[in-house]
Symmetry: C2
Subunit: 419 residues, 2 copies
Amino acid sequence: MEMNNQKANHLALKRLLNSEPVLKDIRHAYEVIPEMKKNTIFHAGPPIAYSRMCGPMKGACIGALLYEAIAKNVEEAVKILERDEINFDSNHDYQLVNGMTGLITYSMPLLVVENKSFGNLAFSQLHEGMGKTLRFGSYDEATIERLQWFENTFGPALKKALHVTGEIPLKPIIAEALLRGDECHNRNMAATSIFFEKIARALVKTDVAKKDISDILEFIASDTQFFVTIAMAACKVSLDSASGIPGSSMVTAYSRNGVEVGIKVSGTDNKWFVAPAPKIEGLFFPGYSEKDACPDLGDSAITEVGGLGAFAMAASPAIVNLVGKGVSEAISITEEMYEITLDEHPVYRIPFLDFRGTPTGIDIIKVIESGISPVCNTAIAHREIGYGMIGAGLLRIPMECFEKGLISLSRELDSNRKE
Amino acid sequence: MEMNNQKANHLALKRLLNSEPVLKDIRHAYEVIPEMKKNTIFHAGPPIAYSRMCGPMKGACIGALLYEAIAKNVEEAVKILERDEINFDSNHDYQLVNGMTGLITYSMPLLVVENKSFGNLAFSQLHEGMGKTLRFGSYDEATIERLQWFENTFGPALKKALHVTGEIPLKPIIAEALLRGDECHNRNMAATSIFFEKIARALVKTDVAKKDISDILEFIASDTQFFVTIAMAACKVSLDSASGIPGSSMVTAYSRNGVEVGIKVSGTDNKWFVAPAPKIEGLFFPGYSEKDACPDLGDSAITEVGGLGAFAMAASPAIVNLVGKGVSEAISITEEMYEITLDEHPVYRIPFLDFRGTPTGIDIIKVIESGISPVCNTAIAHREIGYGMIGAGLLRIPMECFEKGLISLSRELDSNRKE
């Protein structure tokens, strides 16, 4: 397996690092996902049935049915969901990524990110801001109205703005944001500012009404995490292009549905290697504690898999306040991640490690051999419906995922050899 | 002198650190500077006569007369200047600061910064962008047209925007910019982004035409240093409030006219302590070298005196590329500056020194006793008219300034004692 694996990893890594993600358009989910029907809901993490979903994801499902006008009220929505009339599937299996519960439904306007190097696409939702949101399981009126505003006003305006800007290359934004203290998972303040600049300049060149431009600029400016779903789509489209390379032990996805978490490995293509969702160690907002916390949730850890997030913590000392750690711990985390990755990112660089590239390309063999599991930073959702974000912290991907992945990869190589 | 000096420094420092600079308005120079006449030119650094000025400042004087329509052409401008028909004075003596040659003339729209804690004001010019500019001694058509656009379009629009935003507190912007890798002297990318956000959101709420809004947003977005004159005015207004405290050995200004440089000291109020302008060690753009360089020039080193710039280099590893140093040298410079300062800034913090405050409040006694002279980072102008910026680097304030300052301060204290 050794030589084959090395060559395969080299190729997978090359594809990941040579990817050129650009934000090019806003399209409705039904326009870009052939499998998307009115009664389909895509969600974060490995596939899961409604009955087994965590609280926030169930809440988000109610919100989704209200938003799509499939249900007239909450009671009706719950009935429809419990009668199993909705088809569920995993975002990651359909070029999709989205934060926390991660629901993506028929009518949503999606960010369209293209990988210019390899032609593949990825999609994500416009980030909903920091209060009660579908991604944290809210289905209140403000949440649904915001989704409608995305569909009717924000999405179409952004589409026009992107027509003015042309394709926006995302690697330069992420690279500059790292120089400005972001790690582009839980800190996106600088990236959002850079994105804001581009969109504001473009919006005032469109025929969008000044009032709508103003509302949109206020919305983006109020959401320090606005860029995160763009960063996620950039990582997803890059990692997807590195997927399906026989023999490669490079991780191409890590995601979580709040009950189970799973990784994907390049050499085993679309297979999930799952484990129970881990608890998150971190800081809780006043009034909440670990016992209120939903286990690990969301597609956003695709950023870690792409060399950002906790892997780039040393670039983002300001994030340490959020997750309850010190600056030296942020540096330690990044330094440890070099042990389990295939290379240093040539574009994403860390000023205070003398501009060393971020650790990129998690190798399941290195993880198993070193016993070092990848670290992710993450927001923490309440385990019940209707609370939203209650903290933020760090977690390690369960070793079980890597063990299962390695067994499967070995079997695949063995069977190939026999053929 | 000892006790008196300590108490005085404590008071000066308290005023500096308790200052609350806000950007509140745009006013014409003639509206806010009573001494401003049509034939007055204020300039950077200690006072200097036209005949002794460095090349770029002479060039800027020509540009100023063309802009103010005092001269119809270059030849006429030179004649007027050589006949000594223009009154010159130093920005720093009149609540003004401006970059490089630093010229401020009658009609210019100025940024109005108020110190909410103590009521004093400071003024600076809108930053002219990165190409040929008056501040680098250019007097070409594009330079003059830009000044006219500032006066007729940009200034009035920004005034309207500031009416929408209300007073903009500047310390929070600077503090956040430091977390995003700026040091707010020669790196202002993050601060400019933050300012851009505020102004864009406000402009779309004014009656300013979309085309003008677009031009203004393009202008700010094209100028990564746009925020620097705002940061300078914030430092100036804070340091001015700490000036004139008998017995205080705290530096309240350092500025340079390209021929001489000078410091001011709180206990000796408005007196300049001058020395020949030092050479700058740094990196030159291709085709230029040290022999082309104008010695130290501009009011912008007020940022170092306020605890920013080179004093905050450890917050800004990305600046090291500009000035030709490594990350560890950036950290060393900041660490050395703690030796000669009175305190650590409570708001301006350095992530990678575990959020330690920037070294703030230069004490001339500490400088003399330690033999450590303050470091500034700076742009380098060509010594001749018409070239602009040719590099960037580091310098140390000449020890002569501090020696003169200490002698004068001691004399003042002695004479006070005798009275």
